[in-house]
Amino acid sequence: MTSFFGRFKGNAGPASPASSAPPVKKDPNAPQPTPLEKLLTDAGPLRADGSDKFFGYENFGSTCYCNSIVQCLYYSVPFREQVINFPSRSPPEALERPANAPLPRLDTDIAPATNGQNSALSPKGRNSMSAPSAPAGRKPSLTPVNPMGGPPPTKPEDNKDSPEYKKKAAMAAGPILDMNYENSSAYGMPESLFTSLKDIFEAVIAHRSRIGVVSPNKFLEILRRDNEMFRTPMHQDAHEFLNLLLNEVVDNVEKFSKAEQSRITEVDGTEANGTTVTNGVTHPDKTSAGALSNIGWVHDLFEGTLTSETRCLTCEKTSQRDEVFLDLSVDLDQHSSVTSCLRKFSEEEMLCERNKFHCDNCGGLQEAEKRMKIKRLPRILALHLKRFKYTEDLQRLQKLFHRVVYPYYLRLFNTTDDAEDPDRLYELYAVVVHIGGGPYHGHYVSIIKTQDRGWLLFDDEMVEPVDKAYVRNFFGGENVLACAYVLFYQETTFEAMQKEQEAENLAAAKQATEAEQEAVPVAAPKANGTANGHPLQHATTPTPEVDEQLPKLNHAATAPPLPTTPHYPLESVPTSIPQLNNRKSAAAMKKEKAKEEKERKAAEKELEKQQKLKRKELETQRRENYKRQEDELKQALAASKSTAKADEEKRRREGGSDEGDKEDKEALKEKENGSFGKTSLSRFRHSSMSIRHKPKFWSGNHKHEDSEHETPSTPGTDVDEKPEKSKNRFSIGRKKSTFHL
């Protein structure tokens, strides 16, 4: 069937405009609704909280890492709320200008008249504002997009089912929110990643269309201005970006709050909700107190506390240290689960040999047992699956295709005994998927559970509803290029879970009965059930609609820019912003990069040398220590072991079990197994806790074991981190810099 359409398309393609002309004229008023549009047909009035907005994000060449993460954050309800409400929510008129700039009201008025059929078909939300402009805007906006956005018009995007085509269609359909302005002064904050993120969120929420495309120009501009490593047009790590973004937001918010606080103390006399004047802009509705009371909202959402317990095997003293994290990076094993990865994360590990622990009590490097458990559970648990692993053999990062299963619901086993609410229930709400064979190229998309529209796939400009079961397609495994990379779990309750399941059940039942009535012949796919209760329009499942959609394709492909369209310059020109030149000047940038890389590499080498030296020093020191303390240690170890054994036995005996002995042995065996994969902690990234399987590469960082936890700062400024990061990044780039769409 697909081939049939292909042929049809081929005939009707640009080569034969004559044949395609009639449908163009016939159909532009009745474009077939996309699956997303269909999903939104019954949508009621627009909501103020933005939960019914489904915007794609334009890709400016390798910016999918940014798009996928920003989407995940947007659909975190508390995060979105905080972003739009901190320090205050912009008054509607503040948004009026920018929001309307690319989309003059003019369009809105024309449209309903021109496509009555469309208004009947397409969702209300869209109609009210943008749908009208969509059919008209389709033609013009295609032209600018064509040369810049996509790859040269090759086969893939001619295929109607291809994401390339859908993305183009989404861009063409618009409306496009060109976020090339910044509103930071309105918030009383200096321009930052946070303010531009807030700009985007607010603009999306304020927009009268439910669907569209965001062009996050300013956001990327700021990101690239402030962070060297994102300046390259290369593939970036979505997790690194998440971490950076969260830290930036923390930073921006804190800075602002501090400034605000000092200013308030200055003013002092002012009432709690007195007007705050910043940068000459007055915000009568802003309550400084309110703003200040939730400075730590990012912490409230993403931050958890890890307690690391280190027990010195020499003096038996246990020392504890708490550290905060914004996300957890876990190592992966083939054929494992997220649960198991988290448990492994907290497994006891021996600090010995090169990794000895500096015991304050004994005063010196000692062997020790260490484990890290979660003491305070975050409200949103961002789990980074470490699919990019440094392989010493190849001296480069490799992508791990391990099959790691993740459940829709999760609780944490690795909590401390005194943790509050250790049985907290989490639900999976977003998955960032990496598609590609290696860490240096590829594509990121996210699959997100929305408040009441089920699961959606966000692939840059394209937004598409998917089945709940679709989320499970990204466990990974052999021959599976698309694997989950970052998982977002948010706290929920048992009751909420049941409620949702019931709703799903009802929807499924409804669906089933509907399907029954329709007597759909396509039985097999339906058997899976569409839990979300929305009819799924499967990309590759041929349906009657495909036929009807063909003309639209032709239209899109063949229609030359219609300069007569009045709003063309308004709507589409801003989308083809200079940022896109990145791609064009890629070669030049490459050269630059190469140079930079060389320098960087040299620096890294230097650093590595130093680290080696340091390591050697420590090694010799350790050897001396070792010799001196060998006997002592042996004794201590023996003692500790025997006590441990005694403890174990005691416990068994208490249990009155008749299999104590055997279990004991088993326990020991288990322990041995456990310590097999000796793990070591590298704490160079204060906000992202991760255990690494002791790669030589990072071992220099272990020396910072004792360093106190620092207050969050941007990773970019983190001295410890930089060498490692840049190394990863640029060694990569040197070998291969592959652009992706």
């Binding site: 094993d333 459940p407 005994d417 598609i435 290029l481 058997a527 416990r651």
Partner: protein, 665 residues
Amino acid sequence: MPVWLHSVLPPPPRYPVGGYPGAPGAGPLIETNNTLTHPTGPEHQLVVGEGTYVLRDDLHLATPPPHPSEAPVHNPNPLATTISPPTAGTKLSLILLAPRRQSSSRLYRFETATSTRSQVPPSIQESPHEANSDAGSHSVNGTAFPPYESSIAPAFGASNPHLAVINGKDAKDPLKRRKPKSNIVKSNSSFVSRVIPHEALSKRLQEHNPNGVYAFANVNRALQWLDLNSPIKEEHMTKILFTKAHALCHDINPITKGPNHLDMIMGFSTGDIIWYEPMSQKYARINKNGAINNAVASAVTDIRWIPNSENLFLAAHMDGSLIVYDKEKEDAPFVPEEQAPAGESAKGKEAMRSSLIIKKSVNSVNQKTNPVAYWQTSNSKINAFAFSPDNRHIAVVSEDGSLRIIDFLKEQLLHIFTSYYGGLLSVCWSPDGRYIVTGGQDDLLSIWSMEESQLVARCQGHNSWVTAVAFDPWRCDERNYRIGSVGEDCRLLLWDFSVGMLHRPRAASVRQRGSIASTTLKMQRSRTDGSTTRFRSNSNLTSATTVENDEDEQVIHAVEPRARTAMLPPVMAKKVDEHPLCWLGFEEDCIMTSCNNGHIRTWDRPKEGAGGEANGINNSSSNGIGGTALASTVSMGGTGSLPPGSSGGQQEKLRQIRSAGDVLN
């Protein structure tokens, strides 16, 4: 550092293949043969307290090529949103033709020198009923039905004369089994693609050792009939290739088996069910294209003969319905019967979760066509179910994480338990019916007590989802239970669970916990109450949430917090396959596992066992599965768990179980 870290990774594939996760890849394009290998070495041994289990062989079932009409869809887009039809890894239904030999029950004793339970006195008494028992079937979940119990539990639907009439009419000659109508070899159905009988099938049938085991195994769109005792066991007896549908589950009726007759049922991804008689190659198709349960067919996820019924079987569908079919009845479009005669009709949507919606009762007067009964649990996918050894209850586990205990004779829902988190994937009953074990997406095995109606322990040790659980009836007695489990982590874990052990508070727990499980009913009751009140404070869905019925209470049980639950470590954990495992079976002389890619591995039980145990092993080397008759899990229900020398005690225990049930009812 794990070894794999160092190994050079293979170059990434150019295109992803296989539409669904966990499924075997694209598969071959031509028909291939099964292969049998005998891997040896320490990595193919399982070391447990009682001795070492050694891998006997690895039978790899050939994955059939896709049907010519179903050309493989090569979609290079890894984000394609097409929904693939459900599939399942290889599961086995085992059947032993010969009646179980008397001697086999000796094997219930644990006389092994190395056995950790040597102090446990031999507890098994020959039951007079055992002579009659000839059940030797082990369905895909390793559960089987004890005929022993049948004398006590009334047969399902016995109270409905409408059912009885039809059954009676059909059973003119009780000795002659009715066969399905159509010949599968000559079938021109588009559902069946091809049937490939072995070239010497009749010879092999004749040569089959009556004490040997037949196995039926699904792999992709094929179903293979294997003789595990044959010297050429890798050669299938018959291979059926279906056009498109995958058999997801199957079961053999133990009470109708005979040298010339086997009643087998299979449930398909398309919602179809096939009743198949392999000896005569006859078949019948039920719920054709989902004619009964839906216009849109809902895949059959688990299927099982109703204990002691020649005709009736229960199928679980993906849409959460449990449907009783009669193998000999015709399909008819199903309209829910508004007023179920049983009186427990739907109570509205809000009560949906807490009730069993009876869309058609077994007591309905309309019993001319299928379905015989139609129950809706929730709309969540049912992953598995199991009949209790006393033939009264079914334990049903679903994707929503619920474990439902249903009294299927009374058509009543008794309990809803919930997993720690995530869906539950597998369920089984202890041979004595006192415990239910579930495995799920929380990587845990959970042990639930029927008597106490509560969770008694969680078993942590798997590194991924637990796909199959089973009791090892040969290593269970009245206090100690051996449980086996396999999972997505490719590992087989063995657990020793003893009643006494449960008194031990959770290791490493700060909070002291009272006795979790005591054997006396009184204490359990008070314990349950205690936890109820405690829990009420932090959840409005408490274990006391009851839905009042006319005469019964249904209880939704809250999730037990971790700190209050005993954690059980495994006694053995070993990676036994390269692929995620999906089935596990205990046999008299071996443990069997199978994986998603069609590997069936057989592990011989320790050889150093004395007397009875050696019996099975001696034969095994030459015979594939041991020549000794397989004692069925079945009889354990009646005898395995009972204190020595007291058939009176036996009855008492059963009464106790029952009375516990009555209390709950």
